[in-house]
Symmetry: C2
Subunit: 350 residues, 2 copies
């Protein structure tokens, strides 16, 4: 299906929040596409989407949908990926999966191109895109890891509602209006659509993202912990996470504490090291109140780092604040970057 | 002025967010008052406030206002405390100051009754009430400190707007409505009324509370660090803080990491230790999605602790989530508790 000017691409979950951003990103990056299929669940099939001036009808995803498709960009939920990724791979598609279904599968590389691009070489048909909150943290940590090594990482997150989907965003907005109008609210989705209880997100902070594991950590927290180790090839690195949902539409923020392994560079050196990091944009000038914020990150692919300072008690420890658009670098942008890595490393031919 | 049934009390800053809660708390606690003066700046003088069925006219605070006053509860801003606290003390008043003016003064005890009530014995006329974000953290940490000793504390805060005053709450609400209506916004107060730049708080997270110091930390962060050491008499304890303002009206939340000095109790033992802490209410059952949240803390004097779990890599380290009403235990309630400590320890006579 591919012609000489591009690749045959299918997007599964085309009608979702991330699917929409994948299309935007493919367009913004001028990713060469000869043939495009927009796929979804049965429920959303039939919708019309315009891409590069052409109207597409969203089709229900089936195993046969992937015949002749070179790159499948999946973001329609874990169970759909579990069903359809093997079918796509069987038909020769390389799947870049944006769900948690395969992230910790040892046969599946988990890739953030700024950190471990070369891992795409080891793919067996599927490459996993990490969790949004993990991606921005590892991009920020990578230059520090390269320069000094990492000894310990502790993160507390401030995560946006769009990470839970478009319905959750709608719930937050309606509920905010209800609270402002002093009306009764009826939470139905957040913190986790599939969990037992639902709580007010408007003008609140909920210390739960995804369900709880037996060990008292949420799955979101365990994703950050395990995925960071896998992406960085640092299986022994101590990583701890507390994940919190905020009434923010888009843009995850994170308060990160890091201890380095070698040396005890001062804050200026650490700042300079951050500034050399691929994908990082420094926003750090306290004297001018310059620091990253969620609302300023929306629509931008950068990982913004600021509030960089040395711990006052431990000379090899630092604090910083990292913000990124969770739908872009946290999802769609990183997914398309992986597709570009496939091209760049010659793993796929137009 | 005091008769045998109570104390002569003056409230400076009676028309503010904290002043209002001080009046509520005095009433709820049946604090014995024989004579009450409500004081404010010139701007708010003349307002009428009803307390225990009696209407009071707020008077402009002057040095002479404190003649015959036994207890002065101050929350009208640091510069007003600097001016008037010495005048009140000169007239025999014991000042409980809710501003940052005297907190780190070595002649002034800084008191959270659950932690260091006996320090009120050392007062020289002024007793300082700590910063809101500090109070709830030290109440939560105290039973852990007593049982195992503290080795290191790292906190990331999720702070409510009412900590910045009633005008800031108004700004947040109006701005939220403007964002929902997709109108232009004009931030004028937050993150810090007196700083150069003002940013959107609606649907955002701002990593600045109070102004920045030369060292890259904000004053709010340094307050948490220094006040914690002073209150706990742990001058060498490593404490680190990152303070963040959220679009939450009332209720500060904190993600706390703590390493203990002695032993490595498991999560169940640590949970049990928290549950013995004075002033603490445990809300911690992940299987039932039970954890503390800002909106549930409003109007309650408790310090709520949950999400308690052991670090996965370090056996003497723990994470928890602590939430409290920043206007009550974080301010008014603690202030009135200190007044009660004065009575209890016989430092003042009805």
């Amino acid at each position: 299906m591919a012609n000489e000017t591009g690749y045959s691409v299918a997007i599964l979950g085309a009608t979702g929040a991330v699917g929409e951003q994948i299309l935007n990103t493919l367009d913004n990056k001028n990713f060469p596409i000869s043939d495009l299929k927009l796929l979804s669940s049965k429920r959303s099939a039939g919708k019309k989407i315009t891409f590069r001036g052409q109207e597409y009808t969203v089709e229900e995803a089936k195993p046969e949908s992937f015949e002749g498709v070179q790159i499948g960009l999946f973001s329609a939920g874990g169970s759909i990926s579990k069903d359809l990724a093997p079918e796509a791979v069987k038909r020769g598609t390389i799947v870049i999966d944006n769900t948690s279904a395969y992230r910790m599968d040892e046969n599946v590389p988990l890739v953030v191109p700024e950190v471990n691009e070369e891992d795409v070489n080891n793919h067996n048909g599927i490459i996993a895109n990490p969790n949004c909150s993990t991606i921005q943290m590892v991009v920020a940590l990578e230059p520090i890891r390269k320069a000094y090594g990492l000894k310990k990482v502790i993160v507390s997150t401030y995560q946006a509602v769009s990470g839970a989907g478009l319905d959750a965003v709608e719930e937050m907005k309606e509920q905010s209006q209800e609270v402002l109008d002093e009306k009764e609210i009826n939470p139905e989705i957040l913190p986790v659509g599939g969990d037992k209880k639902h709580y007010q997100i408007a003008f609140n902070a909920i210390p739960q993202i995804d369900k709880f594991q037996e060990n008292g950590y949420t799955f979101e927290e365990m994703k950050m912990i395990n995925e960071t180790k896998k992406i960085m090839h640092e299986s022994e690195l101590p990583v701890a996470a507390t994940c919190v949902r905020l009434p923010v539409e888009t843009g995850h923020s994170e308060s990160v504490y890091v201890e380095v392994e070698n040396g005890s560079p001062d804050a200026a050196e650490i700042k300079n090291t951050f500034s050399t990091g691929e994908g990082i944009t420094l926003k750090d000038d306290p004297s001018q109140q310059v620091y990253p914020m969620a609302v300023d990150s929306v629509g931008l692919p950068d990982v913004f780092v600021g509030r960089i300072r040395r711990d006052l008690d431990q000379s090899n420890a630092y604090h910083f604040w990292v913000v990124s658009d969770n739908l872009l670098k946290g999802a769609a942008f990183n997914t398309v970057q992986i597709a570009e890595s496939l091209v760049k490393l010659g793993l796929i031919k137009a």
